[in-house]
């Protein structure tokens, strides 16, 4: 722990650091230390009436209509990276999955799997970041779980969050709803999260640090839905990147997706890093970008709504859904020839030369 972290920790962390500077097996044992962790760290941070019931689960008030429900686990390494951390990711990732269903995120669960020995200050920073992001996105963390595993049996910290959100949009937002002629709108530049993580993980240094694009997408999505845009499908472009999303939609809809490479924004530093490593930004993960498939006649309006917001000021139409029923994605290359865009079988691996 650096001196800075220590002083910040002492000032703000409610657990007496002199007693427990690191997480012990007993913090997951269900006894007094678990109780202390919940009472002094989780409850006051995530503070809300549902959590304060201190029950085995949260009992949620429900309205009539449809509810979206999703879950995701977060195992990012390093835990803190330029532009974000595992806590921010654990909230935005799940919130964004709900938003992609057209749901307004409402409640999250948070389950921590902690490796014995994790500095308490690290856990504190992550928990603070989760709450900060939850407030930003208007969700409450209403129930959770803590487990501690032996040192060497985990990788510092894993978090699982599940979330529910309320769907008030009358249509069905899903790959199966995509229609011939739909415009494909990309909300911003590609590849920042994946390259930020890779640079941090592998100790690659570039002229300036690439920051993750990790951000909640709720406001952007609801700006479209509330304006009555005829949205058929929304997908956030996480693992597998834009390419994998397009392929999934082509396969699920049974139609053809055509995109134009030249229209796809990739920031200069990300492109440079990808060029050096032999990676294709089309396959690099994002944590704050989505593709919207909207009815052709609404494309221009959707674009101007998105562009009016800072988080999507670079939104662009990258292609359209075509009538061929080959379930494929093709891309017009920079030099004007067409090629297939396919999923890759595993992770992209940097090239030899």
């Amino acid at each position: 722990m650096s001196p800075n972290e220590l002083s910040e920790f002492e000032l703000t962390c409610p657990l007496p650091i002199s007693d427990y500077p690191a997480v012990l097996m007993a913090h997951g044992g269900g006894g007094r230390l678990t109780h202390q962790l919940i009472e002094r760290m989780f409850l006051p941070t995530f503070k809300n009436s549902l959590l304060e019931a201190r029950h085995d689960g949260a009992v949620l008030p429900m309205q009539q209509g449809r509810v979206a429900f999703t879950t995701d686990s977060y195992v990012v390494k390093p835990l803190f990276f330029p532009g974000g951390d595992i806590g921010k990711l654990a909230v935005t990732g799940t919130v964004n999955d709900l938003a992609m269903c057209g749901a307004r995120p409402a409640y999250l669960t948070a389950a921590f799997i902690i490796e014995e020995g994790l500095p308490m200050a690290t856990l504190w920073r992550v928990v603070q970041s989760m709450q900060h992001t939850a407030e930003q996105t208007g969700v409450q963390i209403v129930t959770g779980d803590t487990k501690v595993v032996d040192r060497g049996k985990g990788d510092q910290l894993f978090i699982n969050t599940a979330g529910v959100g309320i769907v008030s949009y009358p249509g069905t937002i899903s790959p199966g709803s995509v229609q011939i002629g739909d415009a494909i709108i990309l909300s911003g530049d590609l590849g920042r999260h994946g390259m930020a993580i890779m640079a941090a993980r592998e100790g690659l240094t570039f002229e300036s640090a690439i920051e993750s694009d990790c951000a909640p997408l709720t406001d952007l999505v609801f700006s479209l839905l509330d304006a009555g845009i005829d949205v058929h499908c929304l997908r956030d472009l996480t693992r597998g990147g834009l390419a994998s999303t397009l392929v999934e939609v082509a396969q699920a809809s049974g139609l053809h997706v055509q995109v134009d490479e030249k229209s796809i924004p990739v920031r200069e530093d990300v492109r440079g890093a990808c060029e050096i490593l032999g990676l294709d930004p089309m396959y690099v993960a994002n944590e704050g970008r989505f593709a919207a498939f909207v009815a052709h006649q609404d494309a221009e309006r959707a674009l101007s709504i998105l562009r009016a917001q800072e988080a999507a000021s670079e939104a662009v139409v990258i292609g359209e859904v075509q009538s061929t029923t080959d379930r494929m994605v093709t891309m017009r290359s920079m030099i004007g020839a067409n090629r297939i865009v396919d999923m890759i079988s595993g992770e992209q691996l940097p090239r030899i030369c």
Partner: protein
């Protein structure tokens, strides 16, 4: 992005393509040597802009693809030994050996790590003095200087727990093997720009004269490749046989002499087996006597290991330009990137993987956005 976008400009590409159309009067068969060029050709669709009389064959210049099965087997064998940290460039990790690959070894408990430079592996050796750190030294003349430098520094700094598993290959002997084959169809070569940045291109001049084929040292961006094709076709149409340099922004006639010096210091030219092709005399690099202590094959007792290659995979014919990937009966059916029969389906630079990824459907017809 500067120095990239200029070489991907659609209008300039079309202008070059038009120029190639204008000078082409009959069929010509060219080969690009390098897997990086193959990847760019298929990814950007460079070949779609060419006249139908021009056939591009994809050469043996993908280091991952030509690394023989038995070397992968040696790598997996070494990685499984206790106390070993096995390091490699990323794209070697998925290449199948006889029964397994390095990623599977990692899953089974071996300490296999991806590195971006052999010097990172050397640092790992310094940081882990009680472990044996092995680097998989794969590649053509492009990666050989950095790999040589790692071994040179290891000896100089007395780092004894570092060694390399060498699988270096050389381009000119492979070209000669293709040209001397009675089935050869190649009439002109795009020589690999990055290899020539190290070696220069003096070596290609005797080859050009002996076999009466033009060479053009060519870069890797779409416009480089189109210009390389233009220059090669122009020589063929005019009946000239020369070695020309399209990639002058990176390549000098004599290459990088400092890089050559460190290669000469550490390596010696040896016979080398190529996956799918077989042994080519004096076609590779091995550690010379002064650096023999750093040879992982000797250190880990795997020097005499031999393995047979799959008989179903026709990568040898593909690497020599005798067949195109989709002409293989296993292509896209029994052989896919998930279940590759041979290395040309594994590496992104492999011709089969490039065709699978970008070209699975022949005569692709789509309207433009």
């Amino acid at each position: 992005m500067k120095f990239v976008d200029e070489y991907r400009d659609a209008k300039a590409a079309q202008d070059f393509a038009d120029a190639i159309h204008r000078i082409t009067t009959r069929p010509w068969t060219l080969m690009e040597i390098c897997g990086g060029q193959t990847h760019a050709i298929v990814k950007f669709g460079v070949d779609e802009l060419l006249p139908s009389q021009i056939t591009l064959l994809h050469g043996p210049g993908c280091p991952v693809c030509v690394t023989p099965v038995e070397l992968i087997d040696k790598a997996t064998e070494i990685s499984a030994q206790s106390g070993v940290i096995f390091t490699s460039f990323g794209d070697m990790l998925r290449v199948p050996g006889t029964s397994t690959d390095l990623l599977s070894c990692k899953a089974a408990g071996a300490d296999v790590r991806m590195v971006y430079s052999p010097l990172d592996a050397l640092k790992m050796a310094q940081a882990n003095p009680d472990r044996q750190v092995v680097f998989f030294a794969v590649g053509f003349e492009t990666t050989a200087p950095a790999n040589a430098m790692a071994v040179y520094l290891a000896r100089k700094q007395g780092i004894k727990n570092f060694s390399i598993l060498v699988s270096h290959v050389l381009v000119p002997p492979a070209i000669e093997a293709i040209l001397s084959s009675p089935r050869n169809r190649v009439q002109g070569f795009l020589a690999a720009g990055h290899v020539c940045a190290v070696t220069g291109y003096n070596e290609y001049e005797p080859l050009a004269q002996k076999y009466k084929v033009p060479f053009v040292v060519t870069g890797f961006e779409p416009l480089d490749i189109l210009q390389g094709i233009y220059m090669t076709v122009k020589q063929l149409e005019e009946g000239r046989v020369e070695v020309e340099n399209q990639y002058a922004r990176a390549v000098r006639r004599n290459g990088n002499e400092e890089a050559q010096a460190v290669m000469r210091d550490v390596f010696t030219v040896v016979n080398r087996k190529w996956r799918g092709i077989g042994e080519i005399p004096l076609s590779g690099l091995g550690l010379n006597a002064a650096y023999a202590d750093f040879d992982a094959e000797k250190r880990f007792g795997v020097a005499d290991y031999h393995a047979e290659e799959s008989t179903e995979c026709i990568s040898g014919l593909i690497l020599q330009g005798e067949k195109k990937p989709h002409q293989c009966p296993a292509f896209g059916t029994r052989c896919t990137p998930e279940h590759p029969l041979g290395a040309t389906m594994v590496s992104t630079e492999g011709a089969c993987a490039a065709y699978y990824r970008y070209r699975r459907v022949e005569n692709l017809e789509v309207s433009k956005v």
